[in-house]
Symmetry: C2
């Protein structure tokens, strides 16, 4: 009773993932927002900076008063006051021939349109300075609203918040924002040969690895993770586990193992029978990762992953991460570094299949130019050690028979 | 009373950072280990895999028994049993002419040295199969210890633990490991013009940004962060804050603002007078970031950073991150993506200074080859919006006057 794959291409598989919608939003505070994904566009409630500021220590002046100033013919200006840091200057106005002492970050007084650096001035007496370099209008000044004007779009929806975005929010006093909820991901490891990592495996058994690797990947990508532990190779036990994941409100269910077409592979049948679920794909033309299953239950994504850790991780990077980006409403290309590398040896493949080869990268100088070379990781593809040694995945597209030595290929870097 | 910088080069600055030692270690469990840095080399306590395993569903055989097998002249083998998943097979031994049913992940029985895929066999009767393809010794088998042999080095000291390393640890049953403590970083924001982000700034004041951006960067890089908040431009207040940071056991102190040479810049004097501290550098030939101060108190690193958020973030990426890598005992180059890009316009600089220019990258096809072009971010360098828009920093080395349009330059990608 051996089944067959119904192979689709990687791009068809990704197209199926476009059917899933971004999950719900919640309001959180700025302090918890690092790494979260903005769910509504954020606009500026006010001008940033809120006033024109000096970027130097020096004197606020009218630029035209320093026109043509030089060492031999300095401009003479009368100092009429000082901008004290953090104070509004309401009583000083810079009129022709006048200057006001100002510090980096100080508010430009009325009438002034530029700041002369202290270095280009000489104090003649407490009330008089010489300026011996001209200054252009708005030189050494950041104008009010130059970063963002009131109601400007500051952060578009779907942005993952990094230090710089949080800085802008702090600057604008935006202390709360709507972000996507953290997706709830449930991991189910299947296989009669598995024991938990804290057990010493009796002969014939090995420790479960996928629960650990998948939960680390999911956490890195912003999920709340529930590990359901190990379920034996049994249709009933696996179906119960999947239905439980649905009941928990999972946004993503990853079942590793049992995704192939052998008569001990139950994942397909289990997904078909999971309450309200519908299988979208069984088998995808990539290597490793061919025995991958995709199912849908409402907006919940169910993946059947190959049992071998190396294959499961490749499918994660290629498809699960893509699905997560859909659930979070982010661009799947954002945060993924792809670079061009020269093949240090031939990379054979076959037409009709996309290959993801674990490679190490070496930067070498060749003819004055720095080139990056990609070399396959030493060791058989089934080994977990190859993942530890690799810098990334070299992609062999579907429509070519591989790369010759010296050809340029694309490498997706491991985060 | 204006001071002067004592400028050193970026590489001299980094050399000073090499003086700091990795901080203490602690033992943690595998479940908390994601992103932590291994403090002692980890060796394998046993063979991985612990036994030779099949990577396919099929039959365990002696490869020589299938030598020359073909559709027209298949090898006939007697099936003498089955390897049940997760069970040790002690009573079956594969002698000449015999085969044993096996599943993916099953333990190879004694006597067998290869697995024939199910697809290449035909069942004649319950006890006899035909094999119509030859199989090489160890084909479809991962041998015992092929990933790691007992006492092999698995993870070198200084490795940041990712999903793949955690997977190896789980596979080997290593549930605890010694990692570097999370460095304690204290942030002090100085400036009379600052108010906390939750206040509406009165005229002349602005909200503090550096506390937010620096703590996000430090958290991303694995620190425990204490924000000391805003300290006014006062020598006494700043000295008290620095001494308090030392008393708290800080591994890293970041003081933003007041690092220049104006008479309102107190950080240098404060570091000189901080209990037990010693100033190592004041001023570095990079732009932005010239007014940077480095001091040392025991193994605690004290940084005086420019007050402007854009400069402070550049100094963070160039130097603070480097210092953190020293404290964690990791390679500063690891986790930093540098790529080559073509200058879309001229990038002028001056000899003797390293420039870090915020750029956006564009991938374009030119003459059949895909090239990445770097373009400076639109907007003046003092703007925080430029950081949000930038993809990374283009580096102009110290010994050149910049790049011409079309020249190749190095870009450090923002994480």
């Amino acid at each position: 009773m051996k089944g067959f794959f119904n192979l689709i291409s990687a791009s068809e598989f990704k197209r199926l993932l476009l059917d899933f919608e971004p999950i719900g939003a919640e309001e959180i505070s700025l302090k918890e927002a690092l790494g979260r994904v903005v769910a509504r566009p954020i606009s500026s409630p006010e001008d940033l900076p809120p006033f024109s500021r000096s970027t130097m220590d020096g004197f606020a002046v009218r630029a035209r008063d320093c026109f043509g100033a030089s060492e031999s013919e300095p401009s003479l200006l009368t100092v009429i006051g000082e901008v004290r840091m953090g104070e509004a200057v309401t009583d000083i106005s810079v009129s022709p021939g006048k200057a006001v002492r100002i510090w980096t970050g100080g508010k430009l007084p009325v009438g002034a349109d530029a700041v002369v650096m202290l270095e280009y001035t000489r104090q003649l007496d407490p009330e008089t300075i010489e300026v011996f370099r001209p200054v252009a209008p708005y030189e050494n000044v950041i104008e009010k609203g130059q970063d963002y004007g009131a109601s400007d779009l500051v952060i578009p929806s779907g942005t993952k918040l990094r230090a710089q975005e949080l800085g802008v929010l702090a600057a604008l006093g935006i202390l709360k924002c709507k972000v996507r909820k953290r997706p709830l991901a449930v991991i189910i490891s299947t296989g009669d040969e598995l024991v938990p990592e804290w057990q010493s495996p009796p002969p014939g058994k090995i420790r479960d690895i996928n629960s650990t690797t998948l939960s680390a990947l999911l956490e890195t990508d912003g999920c709340r993770v529930v590990r359901m532990g190990i379920v034996g190779d049994s249709y009933e036990a696996m179906l119960t586990a999947c239905n439980r994941a649905i009941d928990m409100g999972a946004d993503l269910v990853l079942v590793s193992g049992g995704s192939s077409v052998g008569n001990r592979d139950f994942t397909l049948k289990v997904f078909e029978d999971t309450r309200g679920a519908q299988v979208l794909a069984h088998g995808v033309s990539i290597r490793p990762g061919k025995p991958t299953i995709l199912a849908k239950r409402g907006n919940c994504v169910l993946f059947g992953l190959p049992g071998h850790v190396a294959s499961a991780m490749v499918v994660y990077w290629v498809f699960v991460r893509f699905a997560l980006c859909r659930l979070l409403g982010t661009d799947p290309e954002r945060g993924l570094t792809r670079l061009g590398a020269t093949c240090a040896e031939p990379f054979p493949s076959v037409i009709g299949r996309e290959d993801y080869i674990r490679v190490v990268l070496e930067g070498l100088c060749q003819g004055g130019e720095k080139k990056i070379f990609a070399r396959p990781v030493h060791g058989r593809s089934g080994l977990i050690s190859t993942l530890v040694k690799a810098d990334g995945l070299l992609v062999i597209p579907r429509d070519i028979e591989g790369f010759h030595q010296g050809e340029e290929a694309e490498v997706i870097l491991f985060p």
